[in-house]
Symmetry: C2
Subunit: 268 residues, 2 copies
Amino acid sequence: MKKLGMVGGIGWQSTIDYYKAICRLSLVHHSAGAGGRPPPMPEMTIESLDIGKSYGLRGGSNRNDVSWVRYDQYFRSALQRIEDSGADVAIIASNTPHNRYSYITAGIRIPVLSIFDAVARHCARLDIAEMLVLGTAPTMDGPEFADVLARQGIVAHAPASRAARESIVALISELYAGRGEAAAARIRRVVDESVPRGAATRVVCLACGELPLAFPQIEGETDMVLDGIRYLNTTMIHAQAAFDALLDDGDAAAPPLLQDRHRIHALD
Amino acid sequence: MKKLGMVGGIGWQSTIDYYKAICRLSLVHHSAGAGGRPPPMPEMTIESLDIGKSYGLRGGSNRNDVSWVRYDQYFRSALQRIEDSGADVAIIASNTPHNRYSYITAGIRIPVLSIFDAVARHCARLDIAEMLVLGTAPTMDGPEFADVLARQGIVAHAPASRAARESIVALISELYAGRGEAAAARIRRVVDESVPRGAATRVVCLACGELPLAFPQIEGETDMVLDGIRYLNTTMIHAQAAFDALLDDGDAAAPPLLQDRHRIHALD
């Protein structure tokens, strides 16, 4: 298997979700079980950043603004250290920095798998035509995710009102701090306000690593259907794409069956 | 705060326990809560190794044997990459490699905080005079941990019989693979066989990152008393020592109170 580099800590809970997912996928892939010598596990370098610092380095609403330079550099230097550590493939274990993807990855020689790309391809496979995107302000309001989705023919919507957008941003902070009372119900209210009830399919993209904390059932799953709404867990979609990229040609000859992937829960 | 380097993956579950503990301790230290900008979090480089490879590189029972050279080098090269990434302090997030501590850390310029030292100092503070050590074969049978404990006046016992030792080693493999049925009861049988019931204090050191998985109640705790037996969680003792070492002089002026540390559970 190839070595993975991961920029983590933005935030720490989703770094754990990524790491756990990749380890479990590897155990299933190598058919853990017989005991004795532990099966192979991909080597990883994780550069866990200071979320307080990264938050403070965010620039203004103009994406070309010079104010973003130090933010971009903070993430790029982590990718450079990951490159120096010998990683073959890298990911940034967070949605928000992907709004600066082209700036952050400038000059990085190893592939940096984009979460927006992974989600867009996942949606295309599921024939999703449009969805509501919930995340931090840069993810909901910026053009980057919408553009990547549009290239796959998928229409992205932000929450309908400014109040709804702000309630999601506040909820993310609360979930990060271990609070977020009635989080699932609060998300549901935003969905009901923003997606017509008569819509044939109601798809909600949880495009922020903290939002899946609102739904314990979605842990370890890429998708979940609850009360007629399909929720996408971008963390798991990205982690699965990363694991697939670590498989060498020999490994890839025997990819895990989809149903095997569900076995990962038995390994916790 | 200083930057932490961590050699992880041996095994992955305890790497998560370490990472989670350090992030929670940082949230409590910085009094997370008010919302808004996230509080500072220590930067970390985690080099997560392939446990299958490390297992295969283990040498023979003679600790001076040349057969250990590649094992030592596998861990030392991870510490070198951590050093290159700019970490100020490092830990190896696992008990077993500490049986090769002096070989692995040879030539490393940053401090590598030993789990055996951290546990010995923790025991001395608690006035523990003797205890049963449960872990992998190198930890139970080797002289390293016993020597470090002896320097603090603490006597270490291994399980009383060969069968008991083997049952612990088998249980560790099962817990790693997500099994380990009736794990707590199996540990208890080894304790009853190995520690006299009349002993004034019965202390059991869970000196392997997988063994705390047998006791959900011990997650996030350094110690737990259950049915008159005190269990020590070496992962948490080591993680707490690591976090304390990350505090700068300014930070250290206001160390978190012990009772505050218990608040970390509210943050999950």
